[in-house]
């Protein structure tokens, strides 16, 4: 016992203070700041949903303008960002709700669910866009 105590501290790598240039971002740090960034983005996206509804209420001409702009590559780029943000914020929000009831707090679990959210965000967004193109008739 005494021998073990004398040996193990020397062999265990000592914790190093974070060096800002090389410090690796933990998964949870990335998911946290992305949650905030997508949240701010979605708040701006609320204007798009409002514009969509107001254009629909205003009549076929205003709605036609909306469709032309949404169909432009800039419009599609914005809508792709909106979809990614919404799916990410939804999935990571569910992760947050689990934390709020005290589940999934272990570091390994939190890292695994964070990676899961990243992966699912890409997959679900892809699925939504493929479904969208299919509905539009572009996929035949």
């Amino acid at each position: 016992m005494a021998q073990k105590q004398a040996v193990s501290p020397a062999h265990r790598p000592r914790p190093l203070s974070p060096h800002l240039q090389i410090y690796r971002w933990p998964v949870t740090m990335g998911t946290s700041i992305l949650h905030r960034i997508t949240g701010v983005g979605l708040s701006l996206g609320a204007f798009l949903i409002a514009w969509w509804l107001i254009a629909a209420a205003a009549g076929p001409d205003a709605y036609g303008t909306f469709l032309i702009l949404a169909d432009h590559w800039v419009g599609r780029f914005v809508l792709l960002g909106f979809t990614l943000s919404l799916v990410y914020h939804l999935l990571n929000g569910i992760r947050h709700l689990f934390w709020d009831v005290g589940a999934g707090f272990r570091v390994r679990t939190a890292n695994a669910t964070g990676r899961l959210v990243y992966g699912l965000t890409i997959l679900v967004t892809l699925a939504i866009w493929l479904a969208g193109y299919w509905v539009k008739g572009d996929l035949g």
Binding site: A46, F47, L53, A56, D71, L86, H96, I128, G132, K136
Partner: protein, 128 residues
């Protein structure tokens, strides 16, 4: 909110406030609106995908459907409330100059309520 307030810590309950003197209600409101938004956002995504490139008449017919109109109004209210709470925290975290902070907090509220009122009015105008 009275029932939810019971979930705060015993000390907070005794003092009638959290460490900052407020904040418990904000935290809860953010969670409750988040919970409501989970099914509403899934419904929105499914609905929007089904209407990609759809002509005006089809979109109008969809929104005019009573349960769609009700869900849309609920979504607008919950989403903008949730957004207002979130943006408030972002402003409080990063803006420390009192005058700028209060201006932005007011702008946040006014814009949120303004956009919400306009969007809900649009839904009602189509549905009614």
């Amino acid at each position: 909110m009275a029932d939810l307030a019971k979930s705060s810590s015993p000390l907070a309950r005794a003092q009638g406030a959290g460490g900052a003197g407020h904040g418990g209600e904000h935290w809860w409101a953010q969670r409750v609106s988040a919970l409501a938004l989970v099914p509403l956002v899934i419904w929105l995504l499914v609905s929007l995908v089904a209407m990609v490139g759809a002509p005006h008449a089809q979109v109008i017919a969809f929104i005019a459907e009573p349960y769609n109109a009700v869900l849309m109004v609920l979504l607008i209210a919950a989403a903008l409330y949730h957004s207002q709470l979130g943006i408030q925290v972002v402003i409080e975290d990063y803006i420390h100059k009192e005058s700028s902070k209060w201006m932005l907090l007011l702008l946040n509220r006014f814009l949120t309520i303004g956009v919400g009122a306009a969007a809900i009015f649009a839904v009602l105008r189509i549905a009614l």
